[in-house]
Each structure stands twice: as structure tokens, then as C-alpha cells.
Symmetry: C2
Subunit: 191 residues, 2 copies
DNA sequence: GTCTATACATTGATAGAC
DNA sequence: GTCTATCAATGTATAGAC
């Protein structure tokens, strides 16, 4: 049996609201009412609207990094590894499009300190993808002229899903992630 | 000699502000002060904050469609045509990253009527890319299993630039657009 | 067509009772 | 830890003088 605390209910409400209306467009009253509480109750569990955003953003960044790190460790074959990394990264963004939207589009709304903290996760995500490409080139299996640029482009495929993906739409996350993984291999495989 | 009207100065100010702080995070006072005017002067030239957004968004959508349509007409060779389309679409998003950000990220902030109007431009952009891929397959030059999905992915490369691209950064728009065009050809060329 | 002044609603956050 | 009531600041938009 899982107990959901008031603090967590507020975070879930914030995810809904921020993803739907953006951070600036969301009122603390909206968050409170989605959580079934009064406006004042928000501040018993969270310091401010921004600290609620930081909780969502930090957790989202951590989970995205974990997804791509696990995939990177799943195989030593450069092609299979790349396929797993792109598939899982894109699938995570489809399955978590609301959190992903907050991670990507409300980055600027964080305080300077909080933004600096989540920035380290972003760098780690990019580095993980760059390292996988560079290793594939070293093993003579991949052909990648511009490793940082290509790494960024591969991540863009997943990231851009959060702009429009809605669960229950005409295409499943699995379908899109599989497409992205196929395209990634075509983009980088030595011919 | 180009004369800039007060109306245009306000639009330029709105582009700056909306791109920097988002639509909901921008105040009409901020727009007015960036244009060197009083808050009240805004309403002499524009009906509301949302109508200012609509002006920016509609013009941005039109220009993006024009860019990809011109590129589509620039060649009948599927590979050269695809290269031109992806190059010019990505370059436009790099060169116009502030307008592009408003086009992409403030779509939901438009009224229902205004959103429906710009939606037609979005469909045309997607259709233009899909048609180019389908024709390349018909000519036996391209190998694209999922035409709509691949078209979307190619557009994503350019669109995602607006999330982070800043003029004067370490990579030029030309450099990124060239990379995207190369990746596009690798993704779709028959081997 | 610009301004100052302001109407009126809503905002993030707090006070204090229970 | 929840509520009602409220504060001070700020929001969009308008009124009316020049």
C-alpha cells in the first residue's frame, strides 16, 4: 500500500498545472485546488512556487539522466548501445511528457542557484551521449564527423516529443522511440 | 530609408520580451518600456497582449512556411531538395530563434480562433516535408519506412534549436544547419 | 498619439483561529 | 496541518487631459 503525502499531492498538482499553463501562467491557488487544499496549505509543505518547480525539475533531470546512463551500460556493442540509449531517452520523454515539458521549458524560471544545480545533470546527459558516439568511432563501427553536434541532435529527437506528445494520441511512445532509434543508427553507422 | 512605426516598435519589443520571459511572464508594462512608451500607449496600436502575440506568431509561421516552401521548389532531385529544405528550415530557426521560440512555445497561449489560424501553417509545413520524402521514395532515391514520423523528426532538428540557440554562441547557424542537412540525407538515402 | 492617473482583478504569500 | 481572511504588490486595461 502506497501512502501519498500532502507534499506529494501538491507536487503532482504542480506537474499538471505547470505542464498545462507554464510556470508563470500557473497560480498557487490553481495548484492548491488541484490538490484539494486551500491556498495557504501549499506553504506548509513547500517554501514557494519556485521551490515547487525546483522539486519537479530536479527529480525530472535525475530520472532522465538515470534512463540514459542505464541504457549506456546495457551493451558494449556501439550500435546496440546507441539504439538502447536513443530508444529509452525518447520513450522516457513520451511517457513523461508533462514532467519533460517542465524540465525543458521552465529551466529559465528557476533561480540562478537552482538552475546551476540542474545544469550539472544536463551536462552529464550530453556527455553520456557524446562518449557513446566517440567510443563507437574508436571501435571503427560508427562514422560521426561532429560528435557534440550529432549527440545534441539525437537528444533533440526525444526532447522535442514533449512539445506535442500526448498519451493516447495516434502514435505510441514505443513506436516513436523505435523510429528515433532506427534513425539514430542510420545517422551514425559506418557504411 | 526605413521608417519604423510605433506599432512595429511595440512588436519588436514584444518579441524580445516574450522570447525572454514567455507570454505569461511578460507584462504589458515591460513591452511598453522596451518600446520607450507608456503602458497606455500599447493599447492605441494593439487591442490586447494576446493580439500582440498573435501578430508575432502569425508572421513567424508565415515566414517559416515560406522558407521551407521555397527550398522545396529549389530542386527536383530528392537528395538536393531534402538537403535544401532541412538546411534552410534549421538556419531560419537559428537566425530567428526568438521568434521561433514564440511560435513554438507560446502556441497554447493563443485564443482558440488564433490558434486555429496558425495551425493551418503548421499543417502545410509538415505536408511539404512529407511530400518531399514521399516523392523521393517514388523516384527510388530515398528509403523512408515511416514518412510522417521521419518528416516530423527532420523538422524537430530545426525546431529544437530555438530552445537553446543564441546568436554569437560557439556554433553558427550555418554550421548547425549543415550538420542537420547531412544527418537528414543519411537518415533517408537508399543504400 | 502620447501622457498621468487610476479602476478593478488577481497575484504570491502570511496571520491567526481551530 | 488545515482552514478563512487578508495584505501588499502587481496584473491588464481604460479614462481623460493635452
Amino acid at each position: 500500500m502506497t501512502t501519498i503525502t500532502a507534499r506529494e499531492r501538491l507536487i503532482n498538482a504542480a506537474v499538471e498545472a505547470f505542464a498545462e499553463k507554464g510556470f508563470a501562467g500557473t497560480t498557487t491557488r490553481d495548484i492548491a485546488s488541484r490538490a484539494g487544499m486551500s491556498p495557504a496549505a501549499v506553504y506548509v509543505h513547500h517554501d514557494s512556487k519556485e521551490s515547487l518547480l525546483f522539486s519537479v525539475s530536479l527529480d525530472g533531470h535525475r530520472r532522465a539522466l538515470e534512463v540514459i546512463t542505464s541504457a549506456a551500460a546495457s551493451s558494449t556493442d556501439p550500435v546496440n548501445r546507441l539504439r538502447a540509449m536513443v530508444y529509452n531517452f525518447s520513450l522516457w520523454h513520451a511517457d513523461n511528457s508533462r514532467v519533460g515539458r517542465i524540465v525543458q521549458y521552465e529551466y529559465h524560471a528557476l533561480t540562478d542557484e537552482h538552475r546551476a544545480e540542474v545544469a550539472t545533470y544536463r551536462r552529464d546527459i550530453e556527455k553520456t551521449m557524446q562518449d557513446a558516439l566517440a567510443d563507437g568511432v574508436d571501435q571503427g563501427v560508427l562514422d560521426v564527423v561532429d560528435v557534440p553536434g550529432t549527440a545534441f541532435s539525437l537528444l533533440s529527437l526525444g526532447v522535442d516529443l514533449v512539445r506535442w506528445f500526448e498519451p493516447g494520441g495516434s502514435r505510441s511512445g514505443h513506436e516513436l522511440a523505435t523510429l528515433h532509434a532506427d534513425l539514430a543508427v542510420r545517422m551514425t553507422r559506418l557504411r
